[in-house]
Amino acid sequence: MGIISSSIARKVAMALSGLFLVFFLGQHFVINATAVLSPDTFNSWSHFMGNNGLVQGLLQPILIFGVVFHFVMGFILELKNRSSRAVKYASYKGSTNASWASRNMIISGLVILAFLGLHFYDFWIPEMIHKYVESHPEDPTRYYAETVHKFENPVRVGLYVVSFALLAMHLWHGFASSFQSVGFNNKYSVALTRFAKVYAILIPVGFIFIAIYLHLNQLPH
């Protein structure tokens, strides 16, 4: 059995792709936060991210690969893990020895996957059509108004809030646990776990705040 199919190699691959996505999430949050703090900065940074050759041609494909890899591997491992206990317990008290977040990564992960579908429908697909299909001349000031407009619908804001709550749960277990997976468990682990747990709450709450803020601060049509 080669390293590719080994349980530990897969576990490390899940951890590394997860850490990469955690890093991406932080970068995404910083740019989104400028929508609240300074719409002009939001426009210029969005323009840079949407038009820089390195970001679009290299980083974006790497990111998409990272996302697809993380959820495909997550499904493969979930199926394998489910098949490892063919006969289920009549009585099983999972909550006495492990947190809900750690036992239900597949549920929080599926919600995040569904959210990504909505998010791509909302932003990524229209952006690709705008730039590469319809070939509009670039307007560096359009991003803030377009983003604010997306958050006009309260149902969409509600879906974003629920999704980020599940993202917080996914990160609550996943971020801290990825260090254990890559073999990092030593005297620094307590501090690192604390940082990961704070990150797991602050970043999703920040995204929720931005979505609600934009909903409440709509631009005149």
Partner: protein, 248 residues
């Protein structure tokens, strides 16, 4: 104490099992859980019924024979004890107690509550040993200096009795806590260095072949382990495995 027992009964490995209910009376709070099952079995034998089959040997928490998933937890509701060390005072008069075998595809049921844990033996055989020259010039182990911290961690890992509670508790039926304890007890000592790379690769390969699930770091194994084997061992095994794989 008067109790209602709901026990998994299964004729043999291929038979379809089911939970059966047994009322039981006259249980002393100071009895161990296995002594309570002995009382039940005497009752069943006196009635002309077939007694419940369960694993047990030393009855003092060191052999790793007793298993049992009791009310949804391996070795029952108490911590850092095996089933034989679990006392009936942990339950209340009138309780209903569900007793099942440890469940995992790699631990098939032999009969009733008895399971086949030879998968653990095969993991041990794959690398749980060191090579020592016994030609007459063997160096006394006590003459080899060992860092105190490593010696303590190695000893802690070696206290694993291989009962399988880690697999039973894990939602994925993963055997990583067991395997990592067996890898760690050697990896931390100078005597274990010769076969270090080969050991971790072989033991993990065997663990995967046996059909155990993957670890997702829920930590349930560490909580339910009767010997308190630490998750640090899994991180160590992951490190050892990665470094051995990179060495090729």
């Amino acid at each position: 104490m008067k109790l209602t027992l709901k026990i998994w009964r299964q004729e043999n490995a291929n038979a379809k099992g089911a939970i059966q209910t047994y009322p039981i009376d006259g249980i002393e709070p100071d009895m161990s859980f296995l002594e309570m099952l002995d009382v039940l079995n005497e009752q069943l034998i006196n009635q002309g019924d077939i007694p419940v089959v369960f694993d047990h040997d030393c009855r003092e928490g060191i052999c790793g024979s007793c298993s049992l998933q009791i009310n949804g937890e391996p070795h029952g509701p108490d911590r850092l004890v095996t089933t034989c060390q679990l006392h009936m005072r942990k339950f209340n008069d009138g309780d209903t107690i569900v007793v099942e075998p440890f469940r995992a595809k790699a631990f098939p049921v032999v009969k009733d509550l008895m399971i086949d844990r030879s998968a653990f033996d095969r993991i041990q055989h794959a690398g749980g040993y060191i090579s020592v020259n016994t030609s007459g010039n063997t160096i006394d182990a006590n003459a080899i200096p060992v860092n105190k911290e490593n010696a303590d961690d190695s000893f802690a890992a070696a206290t694993c009795i291989g009962c399988g509670a880690c697999v039973a508790a894990c939602k994925n039926a993963s055997a990583m806590l067991f395997t990592s304890a067996k890898v760690s007890q050697y990896a931390l000592l100078p005597q274990g260095q010769v076969e270090a790379s080969e050991r971790v690769l072989s033991m993990v390969e065997q663990m995967d072949k046996e059909g155990f699930g993957n670890c997702t770091n829920t930590g349930a194994c560490e909580v339910e382990c009767p010997k308190g084997i630490s998750l640090e061992n899994i991180a160590r095994m992951n490190r050892e495995y990665l470094s051995a794989s990179l060495k090729g």
